[in-house]
Amino acid sequence: MPDRQAVETLILDSVKMLAEDFDLETLKQPTPELALYGEDGALDSMALVNLIADIEDALSERYALSIALADEKAMSAKNSPYRNVQSLTDAVMERLPA
């Protein structure tokens, strides 16, 4: 099972890959606090869909984990888990099997 640091690295890698694919300058050197989606975020909804799918894929490939980030909990959360790398990392950690 990956620890928090490993998950954060995985998400940062996914953001970098997406930034290359979509040519998003501001996301090419991402930090955990950099806004991704929503206020000041550089991602539009299509790019976000791609990012979530990439993260789910990477979790499955590296750790054989089947995690759905876009579940009902995420949709109804007061603070969207998609704001930045930090909140995405939290969301993955919460969904790791016990």
Binding site: M46, N50, S60, S66
Partner: protein, 231 residues
Amino acid sequence: MRTIVITGTRKGIGRSLAEHYLSEGWQVAGCSRSASDLEHAHYQHFALDVSDEAAVVNMARQLKKKYTRVDALVNNAGIASMNHALLTPVSTVNRIFQTNVVGTFLFCREMAKLMRRSGSARIVNFTTVAHPLNLEGEAIYAASKAAIESLTRILARELSGLNITVNAVGPTPIETDLIRGVPAAKMQALLERQAIPRMGTVDDVVNAVDFFLREESDFITGQVIYLGGVS
């Protein structure tokens, strides 16, 4: 080599579609609840129920490992039940919606993720003329296909940003196990409501699917083509 996923390939239309695309040089990944006796160097069969989320996700993972991406999906797996509404048990309703609607949705969702890097991918769903003709005795089957048509139109919009087109083909009756139970008189009356009153063939379906899959069809999405001149 382009990869196509076709559901419901053990028999009927799906089987013919699998054979057709194999002969056209595609890599074909098929599935059905039972095993398949289709053997070909470029065919891989997955024994699964299309409404089983874990199984579909697992199939997508395996396809990703093996082929890295998917170029086309044909959601052919489907079941029907011809019965008066007053005589239709809820278990039948659930079965039909699970296979036709949930199955189609799950495959769209999982395969679209693998189509993101195709650059020009295609999804073709299956509806039926029973929906536009409002055929008595097919309320639940037709309603499930109406849901698929709606899914087709909305996914066409949601997936256009990923360069995936989503269309549907609606066959008239075709001689397969699906319609074996329909009485001859009923079938004749049904055919007479078509602009061209004959039974459909698998080739008619293949032709429509081919059209949607063509590279030149990249500006055609969210459309439903009914066979036999039904509208």
